[in-house]
């Protein structure tokens, strides 16, 4: 949720995820914001971090795609290939 993400529609994605999370009753899911991840031209982006697995970055999202990612990946554990960019983390330091 940096300026670039918000301009591309991140608020709608966030709202969809908040609603899905509330509906799902899941107790082990934490929804959190972060800011610009660098690839502004592919915003809105979402990163799913599951314990013990490489984080997965999704790009070019809409509220609809976000709902799909929530049910298939967050709840179902299956990566949604059509909107996934890559898995893993960037080189820091």
């Amino acid at each position: 949720m940096g300026t670039c993400g918000i301009a591309a529609g991140a608020r709608g994605v966030m709202k969809a995820l908040t609603e899905e999370l509330e509906k799902s009753d899941a107790k082990d899911v934490l929804l959190s914001i972060s800011s610009c991840a660098g690839l502004c031209s592919r915003e809105p982006m979402v990163t799913i971090e599951e314990q013990g697995k490489p984080a997965v970055k999704y790009v070019d999202l809409t509220a609809e795609k976000a709902r799909k990612i929530f049910s298939e990946h967050v709840l179902g554990g299956r990566i949604v290939n059509d909107c996934a960019l890559a898995a893993g983390s960037e080189r820091t330091l």
């Binding site: 940096g2 959190s32 800011s35 660098g38 592919r42 893993g88 983390s89 820091t92 330091l93």
Partner: protein, 593 residues
Amino acid sequence: MPHITNVMICTCTNCISNGALDIKDSLEAEIKQQGLQDDVLVVPTGASGLCVNGPILIVQPDGIFYQKLKSKDIANLVEEHFLKGRPVKKLMYVPPGEESPIPELRSIPFFKDQRLIALRNRGVIDPDRIDEYIARDGYKALAKAVTSMSPEEVIKEISDSGLRGRGGAGFPTGRKWESRRKDTRTPKYVVCNADEGDPGAFMDRSIVEADPHSVIEGMAIGAYAVGASSGYVYIRIEYPLAVKRIQKAIEQAREYGLLGKDIFGSGFDFDLQVFKGAGAFVCGETTALVASIEGRIPEPRQRPPRTTLWGKPVVINNVETWANVPVIISWGAKWFSEIGTEKSKGTKVFSLAGNINNAGLVEVPMGITLREIVYNIGGGIPRNKEFKAVQTGGPSGGFIPAGFLDLPVDYERLAEAGSMMGSGGMVVMDEHACMVEMARYFVAFTNDESCGKCTSCREGSYALLGILNRICKGEGKEGDIELLEELGEAIRDASQCGLGQSLPNPVLSSLRHFRDEYEAHINEKRCPAGVCKALIRYTIDEEKCTGCTRCAKNCPQEAIIGEPKQPHKIIEEKCIKCGVCMDACKFDAVTVV
């Protein structure tokens, strides 16, 4: 030179019977077509073991596996993967048991060559939660500095690291701190310059939005080093989200005792406040910035004497400079100074914008070439257009042409090429950019933003703009080029602050590298890029026009006539040269002459 990428194509009997040789031929042809033959080598190999899914390709060093290829897939594959650096998921092999063919993040060219120091927490933490910053070693460097290092040791560490200011001029940070440390007047101040007024630049905004605590921690360390107990974050009001995030971060740091009295029980006191600027470009200049904080008109003044705030010593550093400080204290000067070039250490954040596939924010080690930034990280120019120039340093910088693409990016090299590092805006231009018009755009900006104090800057920019306007309108005269050069040099020499001193740069650098474009405008009344409206005409090619009527339907001026299925024609008197017809035509029949 070795090839950057090797494409292993399996040419076992099985794959050949599946068409591997055809695939190999189309691959090689396509690679050549895209001009990638020096970067990508096609290597025939023996059986890979998965040949039931053949023909098979393995791309090294990425380790990406493509299967069941058909000749018709190749053009798209070469363009997407080798040119733009986006592996084509639908052609990838999925190992049994693994559900995901998604590539490793660090194998994607956009991310591969980046190294995050200032942006170390981007996209991974919630900027509104101090705990997340702390969980990633946040405020550890501040603890180390105030509890185990003397101020002199902190300054030595920063000096030895080779850190130079990221706000434009590249002044050695350690040296700046040392001079303020030695100044005996008190109290002292530290300021973060988050004014960021250059068009096309968004590095500092992104850092403050993504990781505000990195700036606060850096400032606290700097304050300890120079002996300051209060500071300001000077940020433009046009950055509302960044303002909100930094304000919240300051409150949280206070709550945690990381700002305030007796930080870490060391006896060191430091607090910070946000100062919202009204958003004038000149307010980023240090003497104007302090005038603005003091409530005066933000007019720069002659230096020396050194900039002061309320008549007291002040350290002003850029957002990115501050964000680097905690890492240097944690990891040490030696570690930091091993990154980069001889005189430019560490990394630099650039905002990539303009005609580029991957627009965004990138952090790269100093010394990386412009070519790597534009083509690998940036993914090249959209629709395979020709690269023309990259503009660095914003309105104070210059244009760097294709011949300099292999230039390593550091403070000295960019200056030698007639541009400057500036704060990190990088605007890429393709063949359809007119350099005279671009120079005119930047001069119009600086003319507008000139505070008006120095005649050379106020009137000089006005005069430059007048000449450039004339040239773009086709009213250029012999002698204009020489006049632009003479005027440019005079403005540079006679202005007090960096705004005036650097405003001729876009003109002088475009004259240096693209003089022929000025000459075409002036002597032949022609705009080679087809941009300057007074010098161009749109026409419809009768041979290519199918009479589909799309252009006529889209023309806002009803300036296009013609019967359906018959070639159309543009009525020149009505045409406003908006280019809508050209975009609408599916047959490339509309051209600019």
